[in-house]
């Protein structure tokens, strides 16, 4: 019985989707467009760097960070997406770990189910709130 169980475990480990560190998930899921430091391309790709921390301090901004299509529709799990957004707030937004409320998988799951239809006007509304 025990060897059979071990083999089953080995098979499930071998077929499991490879999980990466948040820094690698940033490279694979975000960096291609948002550039390595998150500054994006002016006029084409929005900056993560300048907005991720101010948005994380507003309730509507927290919803936006999860619902923005690149985040909500990524292939990451809720746990991975929460870890990635928290990583971006510290590494790209230059926040101290005490300077913001970290996202949990439950919070990500709650926002992620609701699609954000008009991304651009929501972003502009939030930018007006934070400036």
């Amino acid at each position: 019985m025990r060897p059979a169980l071990l083999m089953l475990l080995a098979c499930s480990l071998a077929t499991a989707v490879r999980a990466y560190e948040p820094a690698v998930n940033y490279m694979l899921q975000c960096m291609g467009c948002h550039t390595p430091d998150g500054s994006g391309e002016p006029g084409r790709v929005p900056s993560i760097r300048d907005t991720v921390l101010p948005f994380a301090r507003l309730p509507a901004g927290r919803r936006y960070l999860v619902q923005v299509p690149g985040a909500a529709q990524s292939t990451l799990s809720d746990v991975e997406l929460a870890a990635l957004i928290n990583w971006m707030i510290v590494e790209l937004g230059h926040a101290t770990p005490q300077g913001f409320a970290p996202f949990t998988a439950a919070e990500v799951a709650q926002y992620r189910r609701t699609p954000l239809t008009d991304v651009r006007s929501e972003r502009e509304r939030l930018l007006a709130l934070t400036h």
């Binding site: 690698v24 291609g32 467009c33």
Partner: protein, 185 residues
């Protein structure tokens, strides 16, 4: 020694009776031409060790060796970093696998994926930045596309971002690089 003289005389006379003088020329000629023609036969070539730069003979060992060499050749589509490439290799176009040819500019918007390096057994994050600003290079077209998604899963599709982030409106696509940007852990 009479018996030796007799033997020699008998054999020479019998040969002279059985063969013509022209047959000596014929057989000598055949020997000369045959010796020269023997290396041209496929049997003779198959026995020789393969020479560097010679065309592969199609054996299983040759194929395995060629594949192993291609995995480490930056100008081959089978080079390990090119696992998800879609485009012309900049290494064949005057640049390299991490730099653009003169007269082109590297697009900051790029497609990013992972490739396995068989030499050290590790996975690396590879960024396929396009070089833009000149018309298509046309050499070394490779299309491997590992983990590329269809365009209805747009964030990991490599079909729509050709030179799209390039400054100064350099939208003409020339070739693609394959830069290592990190280790996939």
């Amino acid at each position: 020694m009479n018996w030796l003289d007799a033997l020699a005389e008998a054999s020479v006379r019998s040969m002279a009776q059985r063969t013509s003088r022209r047959s000596l020329l014929a057989s000598l000629g055949a020997l000369l031409v045959g010796t020269a023609a023997l290396p041209l036969l496929p049997v003779a070539r198959g026995a020789e060790p393969p020479q560097k730069g010679a065309a592969p003979t199609g054996g299983a060992d040759d194929k395995a060796a060629a594949k192993a060499a291609a995995l480490q050749d930056p100008q081959s589509c089978d080079y390990w970093r090119h696992c998800a490439i879609d485009g012309y290799l900049c290494g064949c176009c005057g640049g390299s696998q991490h730099s653009c040819p003169p007269g082109t500019e590297m697009s900051p918007v790029t497609w990013v994926g992972t490739c396995h390096n068989p030499a050290d057994g590790l996975d690396y994050v590879v960024s396929y930045n396009d070089c833009c600003g000149k018309s298509t290079c046309g050499r070394c077209l490779c299309n491997r596309n590992e983990r590329d998604t269809p365009i209805y899963i747009p964030f990991q599709s490599n079909d729509y971002n050709w030179c799209s982030g390039s400054a100064k409106g350099n939208l003409a696509y020339h070739c693609s690089t394959a830069r290592i940007v990190g280790q996939a852990r």
